[in-house]
């Protein structure tokens, strides 16, 4: 299994976990090592230093693809994209306002600097003070990138030319996500910032006339049983269908709710469930099953059915808030990473068993599962090696078997 993480210190790391080494095995090996180290330490001659402890689990390899530790370069948003001719690359949005495209081997391919991030910001809004600008969403296609800041500044810019389409949305956006198929269709939501879905292609050039119209604009739920307005706090959005013109979305709120919207049905949510005990900050929809995975601020990641609102259960063992969830290609495994500095892999079946973990040393802000990295089981590796050996051998000349009966010597 291969993952790429972006973290607060601006590093992009590649994590390779050998799926054949189970977590229990790796821990047993590590326990043996600890025992041996304890024995060695107890038997040190005076003045000798203890050998440096080997702090890695078997089957886990981590290397830094790009970056040096630097908080101002901290990665806030990350996505994968194709650069030029089929080269895969990462587009990252950094704390200092830069949007960089970095190749999978660490080559710097593109940088965009936003001068607005250098300004000091202190805006009182809805009883809170917004003290800094940050990126709440980033997506990149072959030709353009689309970014959104928490101030509602949306930028749809092409890599080649620097022509940019800008749009100003209301303040306090918490998340911007794009549609899986059409990367110019995006949804934005935030605190007192109701959900809206737009198409970046329809945005006018900066300074032009007509105001763009959204594809879908959501409406707040009805007043509660005391006839009070229900506050709006959208924390994460997921597109749940392939249709980009009439999208269906799943939205998580900071008020512990999960809501489903259907543009064809109505503006109000089609479903509104209170599923959590804590504010939900991250949401991930499964691409193979009608399931949602949501994470709150305390390290509880839960699995729920999107059709009924029933919560199956939680992935146990996570100590800190999860900032990012990623699924494997077959949807059978899930990787979560966050402030506890680990990438943990679980199975998404009914047991939700922990499969493996990798210690990343930094607080992770984004994890991506590399779907194009194939794990070969040992059988497949042997078959491949056998194939290679047969290929290298010369073809023996075929002896033609004579059909004529040999004359029998009398």
């Amino acid at each position: 299994m291969r993952f790429y993480t972006g973290d607060e210190s601006g590093l992009i790391k590649c994590i390779d976990i050998d799926a054949n080494v189970s977590l229990l095995e790796a821990q047993a090996q590590a326990a043996k090592r600890t025992k041996a180290a304890a024995k060695a330490k107890a038997n040190l001659k005076a003045g000798e230093q203890a050998a440096a402890a080997d702090t890695s689990l078997a089957g886990v390899e981590i290397r830094t693809v790009d970056g040096r530790v630097n908080r101002s370069n901290g990665i806030q948003q990350m996505c994968t994209t194709k650069w030029a001719t089929n080269d895969r690359a990462f587009a990252v949005a950094r704390k200092n306002g830069n949007i960089d495209v970095v190749g999978f081997e660490g080559e710097q391919l593109f940088t965009y600097t936003d001068e607005k991030f250098a300004e000091r910001v202190s805006i009182k809004h809805n009883g809170r003070t917004i003290n800094e600008r940050s990126y709440v969403g980033l997506s990149a296609s072959d030709s353009h990138f689309l970014s959104c800041t928490n101030m509602g500044e949306v930028r749809y810019q092409s890599f080649a030319t620097s022509e940019a389409k800008l749009m100003k949305l209301p303040l306090d956006a918490c998340r911007m996500r794009t549609h899986n198929e059409r990367s110019s269709v995006f949804a934005v939501g935030g605190r007192e910032h109701e959900l809206s879905v737009w198409d970046a292609e329809t945005l006018q050039e900066s300074g032009a006339g007509a105001k763009p119209t959204p594809i879908f604009r959501a409406k707040n739920v009805a007043n509660d049983f005391l006839n009070l307005r229900v506050p709006v706090w959208i924390t994460d959005i997921q597109f749940t269908s392939e249709d980009a013109t009439n999208p269906t979305l799943a939205v998580s709120t900071g008020h512990k709710q999960i809501r489903l919207y259907d543009a064809r049905a109505q503006q109000r949510p089609v479903n509104d469930w209170e599923v959590s005990k804590h504010p939900i900050y991250h949401l991930q929809a499964s691409h193979v099953r009608p399931e949602l995975y949501f994470a709150d601020n305390m390290g509880n990641v839960q699995q729920m059915d999107m059709r009924t609102g029933h919560v199956f259960g939680a992935f146990k063992g996570i100590a800190g808030a999860v900032k990012s969830i990623s699924l494997s290609e077959d949807g059978a495994k899930i990787a979560v990473a966050g402030l506890d500095r680990y990438v943990r892999v679980f199975e998404t079946g009914s047991m939700r068993r922990p499969l493996h973990r990798a210690y990343v040393k930094q607080r992770v802000s984004h994890v991506v599962w590399d779907w194009e990295h194939k794990d070969f089981s040992t059988q497949e590796i042997e078959e491949q090696e056998a194939e290679d050996i047969w290929e290298t051998m010369d073809k023996a000349a075929l002896k033609k078997k004579s059909n004529k009966r040999k004359a029998v010597a009398i």
Partner: protein
Amino acid sequence: MLVPTSEIKNKAKRGEVYAKQRTEKGKAKRQRRQEQKKEELANPELREARLRENVPATQENTREFDEAIVNETDEEVAEDEGEDEFAAYFNGQTPKVLITTTPNAGKRTTGFVKELVSVIPDIEYIKRGKKFELQQIIQFCKNRDYTDLVVVTEDHKEPTHVTLIHLPEGPTAHFRLTRVKGGKEISGHARATSHYPELILNQFSTRLGHTVGRMFAALFPQVPEFQGRQVATFHNQRDFIFFRRHRYVFKSGKRVDLQEIGPRFTLRLRWLQKGLYDPLNGEYEWAYKADLETSRRRVFL
């Protein structure tokens, strides 16, 4: 020949056989140990070999493997710590600490707070009123350039928790406070002076432990006054942080005598939050949950 007593059905007979076997076992063990002692007296190398092989398993040396234990030579972690929320302190900023309690604190809590005031130099105690919420107080402290805020929680007329909030945007740590003993309750205690104490932070081994250790370090001035011969110790062992304060004196170059000044208390980390105090909506870097306790040999600090 040891007969398995579980196969004897008669209780009286079983008891007899067991008692006999027990005394025989004891005799054999004593004899073996006597012979071993004689052999090792003659040949001390045998003893050394035996000790080398039989290292006893303790809770400390069978600690569950943790990749988060920081290697001293790790550059990345060193760089990360160089840029973390405490970088300002470790680059020379003087700490300015404010301590307060939850509203209506009683005698025991204010007594504990006054002891903490004597431990941490240049600290200010302000009595908590009922007008402002803690989040507002944090804002006031930030406006007045405080670097740390300590809140002692009282429950059932005694101090139960300590919340340590590093300002301006630093982490918030919440500890359970137990076994509080004031200086006066320690027999033969020494008297504190106002000298800056030396600081000892023991066994904070993982990355989380480093963060907590640095939080404690950031409360004290960087340069101690050695003339005061005072030392404050935060000793972490299996996630319990023991605080002690001693006065030391070197006796003729051969040994050190310690006299405890007090207070004496134990802390246990309950949660560490990234950012300022916001227990409902803030993001937690580490929060104690029962399902983290997978084995007795697992510790996090």
